[in-house]
Symmetry: C2
Subunit: 210 residues, 2 copies
Amino acid sequence: MNIGILGSGNVGGTLGRRWAQTGHQVVFGTRDPSADEIKRLVSQSGATARAATLAEAAKDCEVLLLATPWGATKEVLNGLGDLSGKILIDATNPLRPRLDGLELGTTTSAAEQVAGWAAGANVVKAFNTVGFNIMANPAFSGGKPVMFVCGDDADAKRIAKQLADELGFEGVDAGPLTQARLLEPFALLWISLALSFGLGRDIAFKLLRR
Amino acid sequence: MNIGILGSGNVGGTLGRRWAQTGHQVVFGTRDPSADEIKRLVSQSGATARAATLAEAAKDCEVLLLATPWGATKEVLNGLGDLSGKILIDATNPLRPRLDGLELGTTTSAAEQVAGWAAGANVVKAFNTVGFNIMANPAFSGGKPVMFVCGDDADAKRIAKQLADELGFEGVDAGPLTQARLLEPFALLWISLALSFGLGRDIAFKLLRR
């Protein structure tokens, strides 16, 4: 699969590196492809990775991971032009700058806003609910962490789920894109427990069934 | 412990029955203590349970479980008078009637509203994040389900956590009462997965650590 990373920071960098290492063609989209940290990221990711501008990454790949800071998201997407036929996996959270809340309430979500801005794309919400350290290494002795995906296009969700499964998560279909209204607060729960309330970043959630 | 159940429906009935069976004194508070289903509940719960009006349950018990339908919550609390010194464990979710959303956004929570209405009480949010069937039987082969508790009073949280632990959950302190802004959407995630998106009611979340 050709996977374009829109925003090659902690989350985008980690996922792109791991997908490259599992054999996908990864394009790290970034404002400055010649920056030192991007060169380092490409070199860590191996022969199937390269860096490009955000627009090139979007143009060259059928699957796009959106991992921009929330404040930059609209501008980044507006700069990409038509995304018809692209699968866009939205890993953003509309966090307030101090991580003490979400900028959007439960009557809408970042994902729905993204769908309005990403002209033509099939948007899936995923990879927003744990920290990048868990995406780097999702192995827990207690079982596989869950990765919820939600969206309105079955194929796009199937692909997002596959990408999560390949990394060692249990990808689970959580319903339509409006479910991002719940997955985004779920992400903030992880963040607040990890960073503010003493549990630390080495936590995740397993879906128990019987 | 003397535990008063405010709202003896599915959630309140299940938790009260199980707490009574583990040896606590449980008072099922309800509009009509002589109703057949309340008599049945008391008889299932054993010798340490009894039924009473909501006001009696609140007066006689130091620990109160709030398990009212959201629409009735304000009226119930307003009818209880001064709750100074009581521990009130809020298991409500401000669900919209069709369970398709929350009536309150992530800038406030039912728990914070409850704290404003429950004069003098130490409010803890807990027992709102899984269905009553899981509270009835939290045993999963994959591990213990997590039960988050949040609140602004350490003793009240310690007691809510103990009550969760006794039932077979892993009680986890999720921080101050404002964290209910996240635990309430987390509950709706469980509800939507269980009822609308095919996972069924026999699911829960385990907190993974390493």
